[in-house]
């Protein structure tokens, strides 16, 4: 099964097209629903970091959820059971790479589903959908 991976972060130009694509899945503009976060590593001249969910086999975010809202995905990572989530934020704090983004409008985590929609909007091939080895 597929998961989203970063091929070469040095090729990222910081255009945020992937982030906009992620939000656009819900048929809206802006960035409120983006599960990806791109930011410079201290000035754009130094390059960027592209934070995406690594689809952990033993995900820390699920381990700390008090509401059983994060269910492990067979192929790694988690699925959010929206109606169970109480918006406590434990998952976001537990992820050591900061890959759980937060939807401030709904007060819920934004969990990457590894659908690969963003991949088609990275003209530099930074993102790729890979099978699990």
């Amino acid at each position: 099964m597929a998961r989203l991976v970063i091929t070469d972060v040095n090729k990222c130009v910081g255009c945020m097209s992937c982030m906009f694509a992620c939000s656009r899945r819900f048929g809206e503009g802006g960035l409120a629903k983006s599960a990806i976060h791109v930011s410079s590593i201290g000035g754009v001249e130094r390059g960027y970091k592209v934070v995406v969910c690594r689809a952990c086999e033993d995900p820390p975010c699920a381990a700390v959820c008090p509401a059983d809202a994060l269910v492990k995905r067979r192929e790694g990572g988690v699925v959010l059971r929206y109606e169970k989530c109480i918006g406590c934020g434990n998952c976001a704090r537990a992820c050591p790479i900061g890959a759980v983004q937060w939807d401030l409008e709904d007060n819920k985590p934004i969990i990457c589903v590894h659908c690969g929609y963003c991949v088609d909007y990275c003209p530099y091939g930074v993102l790729r959908l890979a099978g699990r080895g």
Binding site: S17, G27, E28, G29, G30, L31, G43, V44
Partner: protein, 588 residues
């Protein structure tokens, strides 16, 4: 109900350190955003004949319905009264500014009044913080200011940090506002207006959603635009070599102003060309937010420390055609390194690269003709190609140790009136010329465009299209007017003008539809003309008289691809423009 249109305006009063938000949906429905909305907000807020560097001046920053919605809609429009021309100031910048303003929840931000002490203002969606900037005031490099604010402000990746350098603090009338280190609100002195208000920086951040009326259609139109931006040849020029591709093109055409326009080509052009810099210095390419093109080219300079062996510093320098023209060709550069070093100094001080280059070119010629002396230049003996002197001279433009530098800090129009040399002072309509000695349309554009910027009506494009078949003055003015009025639509959306060939009228109309905005192609053209009218009404109100515009003699001496320009042709152009502007303003 139009969901996809901005509607909120944030007002910030620096005098009273307070802020409030107003719902101005009607304004955005009528003018879309960007240039159109900014012109109306400025007209509402700016007192007649306000002093550009006084507390009455107003800064409007406006975005439009396409920002944070469609690709390459990456620009913010700033409007203010320009301390450089004394008239309407309008300046556009990318970086993350437009996306940040829109996703903080605003269509426009209006900054009024002046602070008594240096401040920076941080807008975090609904909350606005006034922060003490006294410790930042006076810092040598704007890059350092950017570094500090990156550390202390929240929202990395989702914010814009607009700041000024020393030039803005010292009220140099062509000081820029810098955003995300390598993009600028350039040309007309927004940096000095910030400085006069004791506003060191404006930080804006947010990550909201932008609802649309038809999500499915939105995705379809998005994909159509995205393909045009990424796959079609329309954006290739900006994507690969970038804007500096023009150095070779214009040099071959003999339209590259060199050595204060004593020439229109440069013997060493191949050592400052886009191809050459890409091959020898290009270190990284980056993008504005929501633009996959990545036209921002950063050169890498590895510089040794003379006093410390095996000690180097590595500097990234943003370069584009215009800085290479002004700080390179106009100053007789022999190789790119000096030019890149000079661009870096100019940027760190927060000066406008184009005006600075043209000012220094004039000073070099004025010195060689004995109009200004070594002591006026602070002990420098300027000569074309001498970059060590130019690097010192730009500090003097900011620190202003002599009367000459104090005058040059107000631009060539002012300085040449006092010191002479007006015939070779390449300021037109109060603004120093851009890098296109292409023919009559370029000069008509500089003189009568609303911003006196080459991007108003792209006269340089029309010139290149009509080599060998120069249009009649009436036809030329008509075509520039058509172009400039259409561009008002593009800069109200607000897209980057580099993508103007993607955003044709038909696709703009189509792209507005999922946002709940129904406008036909004819409606769009009509809106463009209406915004043009609003801007010129404001210009005329503030004293612009097209009949009084003059051209320096130099432009009639150096041949263009259209031959040697004649004063009689240009005076006919002036008559036509004066008539057009009169008719437009009076509504005839």
């Amino acid at each position: 109900m139009t969901k996809g249109i901005p509607r909120k305006v944030l007002y910030i009063d620096l005098t009273h350190k307070k802020y409030w938000v107003e719902d101005r949906l009607e304004l955005f429905e009528e003018y879309l955003g960007g240039t159109g909305v900014a012109a109306k907000l400025l007209e509402e807020e700016l007192p007649r004949n306000a002093e550009p560097l006084g507390p009455d001046n107003v800064i409007v920053l406006a975005v439009g319905p396409f920002n944070a919605v469609y690709p390459t809609a990456s620009k913010t429009v700033a409007m203010f009264k320009s301390p450089h021309t004394g008239n309407l100031g309008e300046s556009h910048a990318g970086g993350r500014s437009a996306v940040a303003i829109r996703l903080a929840g605003y269509g426009a931000i209006v900054v009024k009044g002046a602070s008594d002490v240096p401040v920076w203002v941080s807008v975090q969606e609904d909350r606005v913080f006034f922060r003490d900037a006294r410790a930042l005031w006076g810092m040598t490099s704007s890059h350092t200011v950017g570094r500090i604010l990156r550390e202390v402000e929240p929202g990395s990746g989702l914010r814009t940090i607009m700041r000024i350098g020393r030039a803005g603090e010292k009220l140099v009338t062509y000081a820029n506002v810098i955003t995300e280190t390598y993009r600028h609100f350039g040309r007309l002195g927004l940096g000095a207006v910030f400085g006069s208000k004791k506003l060191k920086a404006l930080v804006v951040g947010g990550k909201r959603s932008v609802p649309v009326n038809d999500g499915k259609l939105y995705r379809e139109v998005y994909d159509e635009l995205y393909k045009l931006v990424v796959d079609s040849p329309l954006m290739k020029k900006y994507h690969e070599i970038g804007t500096p591709i023009n150095v070779s093109v214009l040099n071959a055409l003999k339209a590259l102003p060199s050595c204060n326009l004593q020439g229109s080509s440069l013997e060493t052009a191949d050592k400052i060309s886009g191809e050459y810099i890409a091959a020898n210095y290009l270190g990284r390419r980056v993008s504005c937010a929501h633009c996959p093109v990545a036209c921002i080219h950063l050169a890498v300079l590895r510089e040794p420390y003379e006093e410390e062996p095996y000690f180097y510093k590595t500097t990234f320098v943003g370069y584009d055609y215009e800085p290479i023209y002004a700080l390179g060709a106009m100053l007789g550069a022999r190789e790119a390194r000096g030019v890149l070093e000079l661009i870096d100094v100019v940027d760190s001080l927060g000066l406008d690269a184009m005006t600075t280059g043209v000012v220094l070119a004039w000073a070099t010629e004025a010195y060689s003709r004995g109009l200004v002396k070594e002591e006026d230049l602070g002990g420098l003996r300027l000569s074309f190609g001498d970059y060590e002197s130019y690097k010192k001279a730009v500090y003097y433009l900011v620190e202003q140790p002599t009367e000459l530098y104090r005058d040059l800090a107000r631009g060539l129009d002012y300085a040449a009136r006092k010191w002479g040399g007006g015939e070779f002072a390449l300021s037109i309509g109060g603004n120093e010329m851009a890098g296109y000695h292409t023919g009559p349309a370029a000069y008509a554009n500089y003189a009568f465009g609303a911003r006196h910027s080459h991007l108003d009506s792209a006269g340089y494009d029309l010139d290149q299209e009509t080599i060998g078949k120069t249009p009649q003055p009436g036809e030329l003015v008509k075509r520039l007017y058509e172009e400039e009025s259409w561009r008002q639509v593009l800069t109200s959306l607000v897209i980057c003008l580099f993508a103007r060939k993607v955003y044709k009228p038909e696709i703009v109309s189509k792209a507005l539809r999922p946002l709940g905005i129904e406008m036909s192609v004819d409606d769009l053209y009509a809106l463009g003309k209406k915004i043009y009218r609003e801007k010129y009404k404001l210009k005329v109100r503030e004293g612009f008289d097209p009949g009084k515009v003059t051209f320096p003699k130099r432009i009639f001496e150096t041949p263009t691809p259209h031959g040697v320009l004649t004063a009689s042709y240009m005076s006919k152009v002036k008559e036509e423009y004066a008539k057009l502007i009169r008719n437009v303003v009076t509504g005839e």
